[in-house]
Amino acid sequence: MKHRQTLITLGILAFFAIFPFLVTSDYYRHIFIIALMWVVIGSCWNLLAGYTGQISFGHAIFFGVGAYSAGICTTKLGISAWWGMLLGGPMAMLAGLFLGWICFRLRGSYFNLATLAIAEVFRLVAIYWRDFTEGMQGILIITTFRSKVPYYFLALGLAALCVFSISRIIKSKWGFYFIAIREDQDAAEALGISSFRYKSLSLMVSSFFTGLAGAFYMNYMGFIDPEVVFSLYFISIMAILVAIIGGAGTIWGPPVGAFIMVLLQELFRSSFFGYAPKWVSEAHALAFGLLVILAIRYMANGVVGDFPKIFSPWYGKKPMPSVAAGGN
């Protein structure tokens, strides 16, 4: 069983490694790069919410801080935005510690709302602190490579590192503690678990990788502004959708969800590649909303979590009972 899993993982990695050589269209490469970036953000959100039970509406904070760390390297320090790949993670982690310090005093919906509010504060600061962030004008840098291939492999490496790290964390003491806090914080405290400490650790890992993804986005796209990287809808909500559609509380859920969501987003953005009427592209928020309702009603554990249930007619097996930690 373990061997089979390793083989499947290696197979998937091999496919992604040769993909940019099979597909030379920059359009499809771009979609894959963005999807791989969402693998990182979705997995990070999943670590904090799916495993530790702290549902965040503020992952745009870390993405934005990471992206701006990279951008400000160029605009203010005059060094390459690639330094942001070193700086973005730690800076986002600092933002995470700040967020945790405030929000982990709260539980449940109060925590969710506090993260939402703080994310808006970050967005407004980025808009109005023009001397530092250039405000709504945004930050424009000249990208290093014209080819998509280096970016592709960077995104792939980041996604692989992130998913691998999180899967290792989940199997360790930290993972057990995170899940214990998700299941019952009072019981966890009675078992010698400092819920504040372990929630903060989960948030630190989560914000670190999200910050890296943000720094990558700056370097890849060459342009950021507060309404994109600190956006509630485009980042925070998207992170939630990626993890929930894929399967919160599973390792492979967010990666699967990232590709589903990025493809869907692209389908709607392009009005189904021009085959559908133009107004379809404007209805994508509505469509995503409906998708969430359907997902929660019919597959609350996401595509990965409910895999046996969804494919049971073809699969021939009954749905598996939920046993594994963080299973379904």
């Binding site: 003491k173 009675a190 678990i193 819920s195 930690a325 299973g327």
Partner: protein, 237 residues
């Protein structure tokens, strides 16, 4: 200095004094019973010891050290384990994973935690249910798993909060055997229980409280024949 001691322990929720000036000592190796009618403050005493509620006044000493001001998780680290009256299983985990989580209290290695958890589950005679989801356990097994989980944190003092409530008579007999076994392994126990048969059977000494105040203390037979206790449970003539 006693093994465990509370002095003038008081807890007020606003104007309601739930625990009032309660002092008692527990010696190492004994089973100490805490009884009283519904709402008399027994669980509140446990919640004060494990710092779920801050103490209004008074002190708690455990092995010579004051525990006031320590957070709940540190109380567990210094060797006080507890179970909950309303069981709190980690639902989407197996029995083994539940107990492993608490075994991580004393180690960072998954291997050690796993071995320790299996050992404790053997001790509690749950070795056949390692892979059951905590969600699918009967109430009896849930209570037993709570005990196993508390034991895996390697406590010196174990607080059992109504671990027999809702069990069948057969399960109660097994439960009493388990509690004796725990004591014989060197763990001191404070037990809150409603079922008199159980409490009279296993306790060395009993403290009876009502409205948060002590009304009687002594050996089981002394307490059972105490007029104030009988009145508290059955009412006055």
């Amino acid at each position: 200095m006693s093994f465990f001691e509370t002095k003038h322990l008081t807890k007020a929720f606003g104007g309601l004094v739930a625990v009032n000036n309660l002092s008692f000592k527990v010696e190492e190796g004994e089973i100490y019973g805490l009884i009283g009618p519904n709402g008399s403050g027994k669980t509140t005493v446990f919640n004060l010891i494990t710092a779920y509620h801050p103490i209004t006044s008074g002190t708690i000493h455990f092995r010579g050290k004051e525990t006031n001001g320590l957070p709940t998780w540190k109380i567990c680290k210094i060797g006080i384990g507890r179970t909950f009256q309303i069981v709190k299983p980690l639902r989407r985990m197996t029995v083994l994973e539940n107990v492993m989580t608490s075994a991580f209290c004393r180690t960072s290695s998954s291997m050690v935690a796993r071995d320790r958890a299996i050992e404790v589950l053997h001790f509690c005679e749950m070795e056949k249910k390692l892979d059951y989801s905590a969600n699918n356990l009967t109430i009896g097994d849930r209570k037993r798993m709570e005990i196993a989980r508390a034991l895996a944190t390697e406590p010196k003092l174990l607080l059992l909060d109504e671990t027999m409530a809702g069990l069948t008579p057969q399960e109660q007999v097994e439960g009493v055997q388990l509690i004796r076994k725990i004591r014989n392994s060197g763990i001191t126990i404070i037990i809150v229980e409603h079922i008199m048969q159980v409490i009279m059977n296993i306790c060395d000494r009993i403290l009876c409280i009502n409205y948060g105040q002590e009304i009687a203390r002594g050996t089981p037979s002394e307490v059972a024949n105490n007029q104030a206790v009988i009145e508290a449970y059955l009412g006055k003539e």
